[in-house]
Every structure is written in C-alpha cells, then in structure tokens.
C-alpha cells in the first residue's frame, strides 16, 4: 500500500507492506536511524517518536497508521541548527551514556515541558516511567529535564527577542 507521512516537516510517499511497523519505516525505509528498536513489547521506549502531537512507541504503531499524519523524531528536534534545550540539558547534566534510549527520552521530555513547563522531579519521573534506561539510573535524566525547564523559563523571562541562549 502507498502511504504519505510527514516526518520532521518533510513529506515522504512510499509503498509499504500493511504490516510494516513505524519504527522500521523510519529506520529502514527513510534511513532515520536515530529512533531505536529495543523490546517489541512497548516496555522500553527506545522507539518513542511523536505521532502528530503525542509521543508513541513506534514499535507498536503500523506505518500505515501514520499515513497522512506528522511524525517527529530526534532528527527533527534541533530547529534551524539550534539545539532544543532538552538536548542541551542532556549534555550538560550527563543525561546519557550509551545513547540508545536518549532519543526517546528526549522526545518524551520535550512533550512534558510543552505541557508542564515547570515540572517537579516526581512529575518528570512519572512522565518518563514508560521508558527504560540501563545506563544512568535516571538521576541525570531528571536533572537534564530540570536544566531544560530552567533555561526555557529564563528564555521566557528575557522576552521573545532575548534569552540567555
């Protein structure tokens, strides 16, 4: 079947098998290998991408279900060559080690901050609780999201033209 999916603002039309998983469509058909496959059972979240405005586990979404919809992946996080504060936070706070869970973690964190710009540590942990990291023990991921929250707040305080970044 033919599908058209807008990934990171670019439209892609491809002939796919109806059973093709979204994660494999992104990785194998489009070559966007930043999203990872980790478990098959929706437990680990290495494959999290946004479908329209919502993070989903792309190992349990069919590519066909994304037809006519928008997908955002880690490759689309930096806008105009400028890193998202979440990406910066992960670097500044050592929120990643092997880097395998990182894209999914960052995309969920981005969604959280869009809906709750000043989350508590508990709210951050709750938001990330559907995803697994085997390297960080989560502490520095929480700090990374807090870092991004603080810097975005500072940017807002400085007004639309200002900001410290």
């Amino acid at each position: 079947m033919q599908i058209t999916v807008t990934v990171n603002d670019a439209a892609f039309t491809r002939e796919v098998e109806p059973r093709l998983l979204l994660i494999h469509f992104l990785r194998d058909d489009l070559g966007l290998t930043g999203s990872h496959w980790g478990c098959d059972t929706s437990n680990c979240g290495a494959c999290v991408v946004w479908l329209d405005e919502t993070p989903v586990k792309s190992c349990t979404v069919l590519a066909a279900m994304a037809d006519g919809r928008r997908v955002r992946t880690v490759e689309g996080m930096a806008a105009g060559g400028r890193l998202d504060p979440v990406q910066e936070g992960f670097v500044q706070c050592h929120g990643l080690q092997c880097g395998f869970c990182t894209p999914g973690m960052m995309l969920t964190a981005r969604w959280l901050l869009d809906h709750n710009p000043d989350p508590t540590a508990e709210e951050i942990r709750e938001a990330l609780s559907g995803q697994v990291c085997r390297c960080t023990g989560y502490e520095n991921i929480v700090r990374a999201v807090q870092w991004a929250s603080r810097h975005e707040a500072a940017g807002r305080d400085a007004g639309p033209a200002g900001g410290t970044r």
Partner: protein, 788 residues
C-alpha cells in the same frame, strides 16, 4: 614571552565528546549499518529445553521467493563449524545437530532479502523433536540418574563441570570449632540478565575479491573476537576486521561470541553479500549470556564480642547447557575467591561446583567483576545475620572488623593482595551522610506504630583491571592492553586504544588522560577505538578494566611521548635535557620557567628541518602495552533505607547513600553516572529482576513484560559522596568504577528489607524481593525464587 593562561588540569567534569552525535540521533549502532545489497538473517530457535532432533526440513523455507539461503547444523558440520569454542574452554553448538539443550537454542539460520521475509521463512521450517527429560533444578543436576545433557562429550556420564576451591580448609575448620558463635545461611543469587537496551547483532561482509571479512558487531572485545574467529573459522587474522561501532550498553553480555555472529559470517560467505543479523528482545533474554545463578551455603564464625574469625562457603554454580562464562582461564568460579570481603579474618575456605542444566549458557555477564558481585552479596548478608545473632548494630560490627589502613597491602586468606584502603573512614562518611543514628531513632518510632522501615548497609571491596598476564588470560590471550599515540605537527593528538566503549565515555576520559600528561586541551585529543584495523591489540572492555588497564596504557604512552618531546625541547631551547623540567603543561628550563616550549611547538619542531638530537627520529609518536602488576581494589560503603508495606509486601527504596572510593577520578561527572547505573542495577536485582524457569524448562523471563527492570519511578534520587585513596601501582592512581555499584548495592537493599521485616522474625529471603516474595517471607514461608 607573552603571558600564558594559567595551567589547568585536564581532569574534571568535562562534558562528553560523544554526546554531540547521540543527542542528534547520529550515533552508529550495528543495526544502523546499511550496506548495498545487504541481506537479513534470522534464527530459528528451539521451543523445548531438551530434545533430540530427528529431522530439520527446510524445503519450504528454501522455496520462499525472498529467501537466499537456509543454514542448518548440517550445513555447518560440513564446514566443521557446527560447534564453536566458548570463553571457558568448553564448546557450544552454533546450530544444533544432535539435540537441543535449552529453550531458545539456535537450530537454523535463514537469510532473506528483508528482515520480515527472514522471519516469515522461519515459520516454514519443520523440525521434528523427540522430547527428553530436562534438568532444570540445579540442585538436582548431580543426582544419580539425572539426564545427561552433554552427551556430545565423549564418556560424559553426569552434569558436572568443575570443582574449585580456595583458602585453607583445615584452618577454617579449626577457627569454626573454636568460635563462640556460628551463623549459617543458604542463599540464592538468582539468574539475571543485564538486558542492554541494544540487543546483540552483527553485519558480516566478506569481500570475495580481497578476501577481507569485515564484521560490525556488538562486541566488547573486538581484538579477542578477531583472534577467535581466525582460529575457529580458519581465516587469516589480517583478513578479518572487527568494527564495534556505537554499542548500546554491554555490561558483560557482549563479551562472548554468539552463534548469530558466526551464522552471519557463514551466510556472507555462502551468498557473497553482506548479511545483517539482529536478535530481538526475547532472543536476547533467552539465549545470550545470563549472570549469577549461584546457590550458596555460607557460614560465618565469630567471638561473642563480635570479632569475625572465619568464613566457609559451598557454592553450586548453574552454568546452563554450555560453559560459556567469560572469565580468566584459571578462574572457573571467576573472582568469587574475594568472598572474604573487606574484613580482617583469620581463615576462610570456599568450594564451588559447576553444573550443567538445560538453560541458556553464560554465567559472568552483568557488571559483576567476574563474580565479585556474588562474593560481596554473600559476605555482606552473613555479616548482617551475625549482627542479628549477636544483637549488635550492623554498622558497629562492620566498623569493628574492617581491615585497617596499616594492614595494606593486605593478602586475604584466599590469596588476593588488596592494594590500598581506608575502609573505616569511607564507612563513617556514608553513615554521616545518611544520618545513621537519626535513621535508627526514626525506625524505632515507626516500629512502635507498626510501620516497616529498614536500614541496610553494605561494604564492598572490588577486584578490577584484570589482570597481570602471568595469572590471567582468556583462551590463552594474556589480559594486557595496548595504546598508540600520534602527535601531529600542530600538536593535535590521536590516541588509539584496544578497549571499546559501550557508553562509558572513553572518547572523553581517555582524551583527558592524554591531555593531562601532555599539557594540551582535551579537545585536541581524538580517541580511536572499536576497530581492529585502527587500534593496537588488547583484551577489551569488561570487568571494569578500561581505566585500570587501557587508562594506564594511555598515561604511559603519553609519558613516553613527553619524554621524547623533552629531547626535542632541549634542542629547541639549546639546553641540556637534564636541565629541563615539566611544569605548567610544558617543558621549561629549571630555574627559568620563562624559557619553555609547549607540546605543539615541540611537535612542529620535531617535524621540521631542525637537526634532531639522538633519541628522536622525527616525530613524537609512541606505543605501549600495559601489563598490570596487580588488580586494583576499589571499594565503598552503601546505606539503603526502605519502607515495606506489610499488607502488600511492596518495597519502596526511600534513600540510597553511596560512598565510593575508586582512587583518582579523571572525570567525576562520568564516575557519578557509572555509580548511578550500578545502583539502579542493584535495586533491580534485589527487588525485581530474575530469569526463572518452569519444570519443563520454559523460560519465564523472556520479555520485558516478564523480566522487570527498574524505571525512573522505582529509583530514588541517589545520594553520592566519595573518598579518594589513590591506587599505589596505577600510573595515575585510578582504580576503576564501572561495576562497583552493581557489586555493592544488592546487599544493601536486601539487608534493608530484612531489617524492615525483623519484627516478623524474618532472617532471610532470596532475591528478587518482589511483593509476592516479601509477603511469603512475612508469612514465614520464604520461597525458592529460581523455579516457578
């Protein structure tokens, strides 16, 4: 000379070089490798734990329009490749020929045009099995009449693998006979799996014209794998190139060679095309290296006043169907001989018996420092049980018996030479950070109210950085590591090392080591690793050996470069080399520090037309191999606070204080991250993780729905502190830290839960302390946690 910036140490919390690619989704993991014409492989696995194979019918699979090849044990046997050597000098079936010996064992390999078609074709293979009785309970493996698993070994009539002992039995027995108090306990360290988020896989690409075989693989030991492939496959070693690109966590489980790697290689040979094989999560959990599975009986002897005298241990080690434990050859039980822990003992003895069962092979694969994890768990539980028996405070009992600073270097009753330590100070830092007296007071108040709060302590000593070559090898390859350092004319440096990162941050830490020795910016050092064609030989990354061994090699090779630079600097400064001193990150004239040359100035001169003095040929490059004189012995003190719900058995880890002494810290940010990981590991193993089996050998931990890993909501905010006791024999005083917290933390969690359950009279319950298991313990009926 113009004013120079004040010289700053390159050590410190430098942000990681590798992050730039990972946060953009630009890492290159094995499954990201896409080659022109690449085919995809998939493995057919046994549904049964023990069965004879009567027939493997692949005709229908062969006929699938997208299938390019189907490989069976027969195909491999014709090439003499059906069995491969394991890292413990056993053999393991690549694809089964005679029978299957565990559920999930590799039976056939399909190569197809895409990954979905390869999976489809697996369904078309018909295997006729004749089920055999299985050995699932390790404690029954040596029963007379038990089914013999390894009848492939001529004359094998039982399931025994090895007996290994350490210590002085007579001295231990004498100490026990004279002791006021003896406490004994059976305890199981259940089978667990490290479950790195990236599963195992490989892309094999044989160039038929040049004969060069390139293998991208999830390997923690690319050089050792290259040698092993060469010996096993009969290919010349210089025609094999292993690339371990970005690796999504390893934790030891990516040290062995797996059948899938071999199948991908053979498939590339057969088809003339690159072949990718990536296992799925169930395959990963059911067939690649598990860890632990130690059934231990421990005894501790002491005087009435709480002086620990001796330890005795008997262990039954379940190694699964093939002995695939990745560990130094002379150590069949790994470094379990470290079970005397951090204490001043008179005598100790242990005996370990390894057995085969119808389970996946492995045994040393989860940040365990070659079974120091099991050893620490055993002794730290026994010390707590002794404290219970003596009605002593577990912190005070440890303080009384810890080795004292003046006893180092200390040779333990089982022969390990601990290099350095100030154990009491580290424990005190942990107790202070936790607010130990206040916690005990709070606990007493809560107990009055019927609330279950527990405080658990563990103190561990680790043995990492294997090893001295004369004592330690893997398959005959001495455990040393090489480093090459090149300095370009502009003073930029490229360090090539034999170890390989799976997330530990070598590209940053190793650059810091070189930068510190050469007085150049960290950004001016590029670290090359994970490619056998571009790096010197060495044994790889596991057992926390990167900084202790390769880190030492990096420092040593940088010092060689520095000494070579000194000769050139002397020529440049028209001074005698003996009049120069290294200061402020450059060579300068003693007594006249204004006269000095930086490495960049010296490097350019070395490449110039300058008439070079004797001892240098033109560049500053150097290489080395580091053969560690001893292991390093990091240590630490952990305090865990838990709350247990008596109605449900749910354990909540409220606080966890970890004080690690890993010697000099090159990048404290990375060190803290490593510790955080290990603490989450310990919490997971203590409370959640176990690979269990039913009576027929069905694996009950074969997915992340059944094998539970800690998430952000189970983990507390870790509280870290440190002490620093430099390693006396390491060039920069570092000891290694990668596995410390995994080794030290499970006992702290279990000790805390047992402390919480004290009002119920519970002495011991085995990990994982799931709500059901805790509830059973509260009812007075602790259960075996390895069997369904």
């Amino acid at each position: 000379m113009t004013a120079r910036q004040a010289y700053l140490s390159a050590y410190g919390p430098v942000r990681r070089k590798e992050d730039a690619r990972f946060i953009r989704g630009r890492g290159t993991f094995v499954d990201d490798v896409q080659l022109s014409g690449m085919l995809h492989g998939a493995i057919l696995r046994s549904p049964l734990a023990h069965a004879a194979i009567r027939c493997v019918d692949t005709a229908a699979a062969q006929a699938h329009p997208k299938v390019k090849a189907v490989i069976t044990g027969e195909t491999l046997a014709a090439r003499n490749l059906a069995w491969m050597p394991t890292l413990s000098r056993d053999v393991q079936a690549v694809l089964a020929t005679d029978k299957v010996r565990f559920q999930g064992q590799e039976v056939a390999f399909v190569v197809a045009e895409d990954r979905y078609s390869a999976r489809d074709a697996l369904e078309l293979i018909n295997v006729e099995y004749e089920p055999l009785p299985a050995v699932i309970d390790a404690e029954r493996a040596l029963d007379p009449g038990a089914p013999v698993i390894r009848d492939d070994v001529a004359g094998k009539a039982d399931n025994h693998i090895f007996d290994w002992a350490a210590g002085d039995k007579a001295a231990a027995d004498a100490a026990f006979a004279a002791a006021d108090v003896v406490v004994a306990q059976d305890m199981l360290y259940p089978r667990v799996h490290p479950a790195p988020l990236e599963t195992c896989g490989a892309v094999a690409d044989l160039d038929e014209v040049t004969g060069k075989l390139t293998i991208w693989s999830t390997s923690q030991a690319p050089h050792a794998h290259r040698t092993l492939y060469s010996l096993f496959l009969g290919l010349p070693e210089h025609k094999i190139r292993i690339i371990s690109p970005d690796i999504g966590g390893g934790f030891g489980s990516k040290a062995p060679v797996y059948p899938g790697y071999v199948c991908a290689i053979v498939a590339s040979q057969l088809t003339g095309r690159p072949v990718k094989w990536m296992e799925d999560r169930s395959e990963n959990l059911m067939s690649t290296a598990f860890a632990r599975d130690y059934h231990m009986h421990g005894e501790i002897a002491a005087t009435r006043d709480g002086t620990i005298l001796a330890l005795r241990v008997k262990v039954l080690a379940d190694h699964g169907a093939f002995n695939g434990a990745a560990q130094p050859t002379k150590f069949p039980a790994g470094f379990f001989g470290m079970f005397t822990g951090s204490y001043d003992l008179r005598a100790a003895h242990c005996q370990v018996t390894g057995v085969y069962t119808n389970k996946a092979p492995g045994g040393v694969a989860y940040s365990c420092s070659f079974r120091v994890t099991e050893a620490v768990y055993l002794v730290e539980r026994l010390v707590d049980l002794l404290a219970r028996e003596l009605d002593a405070d577990p912190a005070e009992l440890r303080m009384k018996n810890l080795l004292r600073p003046e006893q180092f270097p200390h040779t333990t009753p089982t022969g390990w030479e601990y290099d350095s330590g100030d154990y009491a100070r580290t424990l005190q830092v942990a107790l202070d950070a936790a607010g130990y007296p206040a916690l005990r007071k709070e606990q007493a108040e809560r107990r009055e109210r019927g609330e279950l709060m527990g405080i658990g302590i563990s103190f561990f000593t680790e043995a990492v950085g294997a090893g001295p070559r004369k004592h330690m090898d893997i398959l005959g390859l001495g455990m040393a590591d090489g480093a090459d350092l090149r300095v370009h004319p502009t003073g930029k440096a490229v360090l090539a090392v034999s170890c390989q990162t799976q997330g530990q941050g070598h590209e940053t830490t190793f650059a810091q080591i070189v930068a510190e020795e050469l007085g150049i910016p960290v950004d001016d050092v590029e670290v090359v690793h994970g490619d056998t064609d571009r790096t010197p030989f060495g044994l790889g990354t596991y057992g926390s050996r990167s900084t202790p061994v390769s880190g030492a090699a990096a420092a040593v090779v940088a010092r060689k470069v520095r000494e070579r630079a000194k000769i050139v600097a002397a020529a440049l400064l028209e001074a005698s080399a003996s009049d120069l001193e290294w200061g402020g990150g450059r060579w300068q004239v003693r007594g006249d520090p204004a006269q000095g040359k930086t490495l960049a100035e010296i490097a350019m001169a070395a490449h110039s037309g300058l008439e070079l003095p004797e001892g240098v040929l033109g560049h500053l490059d150097a290489d080395t191999v580091y053969n560690p004189p001893n292991l390093t012995y990091p240590y630490g003190a952990y305090v865990c606070v838990v709350d247990v719900d008596p109605g449900t058995g749910v354990v909540k880890v409220r606080r966890f204080v970890a004080v690690d002494d890993c010697g000099v810290r090159i990048n404290p940010m990375i060190v803290a991250g490593q510790i955080h990981r290990g603490l989450a590991d310990g919490l997971g193993m203590a409370l959640m993780q176990a690979i269990t089996f039913d009576a027929d050998g069905n694996c009950l931990g074969g997915s992340f729905m059944d094998y539970l890993l800690p998430t952000s909501v189970e983990c507390p905010s870790w509280e870290l502190a440190e002490t620093v006791t430099p390693c006396p024999h390491h060039p920069i005083g570092a000891k290694g830290v990668g596995e410390s917290a995994t080794v030290g933390s499970p006992a702290a969690v279990v000790n805390a839960v047992m402390d919480a359950l004290k009002p119920y009279g519970v002495r011991h319950a085995d990990m994982p302390l799931t709500p059901a298991n805790v509830w059973s313990a509260i009812q007075g009926t602790p259960v075996r946690t390895d069997l369904a």
